[in-house]
Symmetry: C2
Subunit: 337 residues, 2 copies
């Protein structure tokens, strides 16, 4: 029997500033046979996410850095093609962190069996996966959203931001978003029902924010950091909450970037800024999946994907996150279901 | 009957940067007779507090700005000398916001009757008053201190900071403080029982903080802002909480100051930064007074005062807050009890 081949992406250099194609390398390997308790999986699709930029740096962080010359990892959905485990059968859909490759062998215990799919596999990398759950816990737990409040979300056309806005709508809130193109703004306001949205290229962020939400903000969901965070702090209402989820505007900075120059406003207004990552809230996974599967099935939460085909395009897909190439979730398609 | 005189301090100019003596003016006025429901009060002592710097600027804030050419206001303790109210008798001790003057007449409803004093009147401007309650609610409610945690407080020898550290000690915590002189450091470590304290003039704040609390911080109580806040963020443990109480290091800045350049650390660590002012927690006043009177009476919370005599020295006392002239609460003594 011929050995199974897999193509995978290695990290070749640690990027300085914006990542470049030359920081990555496409490598072909053989997938080893599964041992006892192991399975072999063929990936259907994989995720690229902004947080991966941080893992490319050699520094202490909440996840260890990617190793140079090793395969990149990240969320992926695949199907079991060989099994020597009683827990997984051939044909099972599984979620793993074995992304950036076409196939792999690992212990069955490192995989999550998805069961009956209620949506296409790629949705489990987006709205029904990590980004969807990030939006869910960030808005409802971290920012403690209350019905009828005014919510601002940056990166609003992204995988997380677009779900944040739609959950806020379900909770009866007024939602304002920012994004980076006229097309994204149309999607947010015409398709997703945001009350207002603006293109941050179109002028002063504080002024556009004031125009979009004249009475101020109760909640800001920050995917962007930098100027957006400062503008939001300057426009919060008393006892407002800011969920610090990401800071894509500064991930490629080569020097530490100054923080918001108006943070002392938090004192008099009683503001809360709270950082989080989704793994802090794993205990809410069942509640998230139950709510979100229902919202997606009923059409109350809609999602878009930007899809690139083939593992060789994973670096391009990743780099596109920083230029706003994606509307909704950026997916790399690796095979047919 | 001769009219009662009072000397008072007016705000003459809005300070640019550090306040100066010429920004204030001493004025003598007559105290009017009380009308029906009013009382006349002679102040025993008055408070100067860092928050007053913000009120000297003409900008929207959580308290309206002081008016130019008008008397300054602030916390004061006095005794009723004439009463036309059934609620207050001559001789009653009262707390008011009619500071920066020797005597005044006002409706009885604007005053809080102190009842039997359990400490000298000036303590009701400090440990048993607004600064003590600020420490109490900031540490126990805003930062949600848990027994046995590691706490860092800046401005630790000030009216608020010194109480923060002592409450943390009562809760079985390890306490590190920063202050601005060797004498203050000795007071914190030798008299108040802080595990460690450092003079921020003595070298890098991040390095001194790491040496004082090698395992990191669970709670930071920020009275200072600026470099202290950035250093603390860089040294927090997972799920740490930062109570944003004040930012005395930037109150006199004439330009907006950049915020902490490491705020994105809050994401992975799940940090919470929460601003507050004591008036957000008025509902806890009775609990505070019961706890603190007991702690002060039993000697578990000790306090120092730096006292200046005479209303004419109020500007000097106020300006001294920004040069670290005070250990503990800065008090202006206006008369004998």
């Amino acid at each position: 029997m011929q050995a199974m081949k897999s193509r995978e992406i290695h990290l070749k250099n640690r990027p300085q500033g914006m990542p470049e194609a030359g920081d990555f390398e496409l490598v072909e390997t053989e997938v080893r046979e599964p041992g006892e308790g192991e399975v072999t999986v063929r990936n259907l699709c994989m995720s690229v996410d902004p947080y991966m930029r941080g893992r490319m740096m050699d520094r202490k962080s909440y996840v260890p850095p990617f190793a140079l010359g090793e395969v990149m990892t990240g969320g992926a959905i695949g199907r079991v093609v060989r099994s020597r485990s009683e827990d997984l059968a051939e044909g099972d859909h599984v979620s793993s962190m074995y992304g950036w490759r076409e196939a792999f062998t690992c212990p069955a215990g490192e995989l999550r069996r998805l069961g009956e799919l209620s949506a296409p596999p790629s949705a489990y990398l987006g709205v029904l996966g990590m980004p969807g759950m990030t939006a869910y816990v960030g808005l409802l737990e971290v920012a403690a959203l209350k019905d009828g409040e005014t919510v601002f979300v940056s990166g609003a056309a992204g995988a997380v931001g677009s779900v944040v806005g739609q959950i806020a709508k379900i909770k009866g809130c007024r939602v304002v978003g920012s994004a980076g193109s006229a097309e994204k703004i149309r999607w947010l306001t015409e398709d997703l029902g945001f009350e207002a949205a603006f293109d941050y290229h179109d002028g002063s962020i504080p002024e556009q924010l004031r125009a979009a939400a004249p009475d101020g903000l109760d909640v800001y969901f920050d995917n962007v950091g930098g100027d957006h965070l400062q503008a939001a702090i300057g426009h919060m209402r008393q006892f407002g909450r800011i969920a610090l989820c990401g800071a894509i505007s500064v991930y490629n900075a080569t020097e530490p970037q100054p923080g918001p120059n108006n943070l002392t406003l938090a004192i008099g207004l009683g503001l809360t800024l709270r950082g989080f990552i989704v793994s802090h809230f794993q205990h809410l996974g069942d509640r998230f999946r139950a709510d979100m599967e229902q919202w997606v099935a009923s059409g109350r939460v809609r999602y878009e994907e930007t899809v690139m085909e083939g593992v060789e395009r994973a670096p391009e897909a990743f780099m596109g996150l920083f230029t706003g190439a994606n509307t909704g979730k950026m997916i790399v398609q690796l095979g047919a279901d």
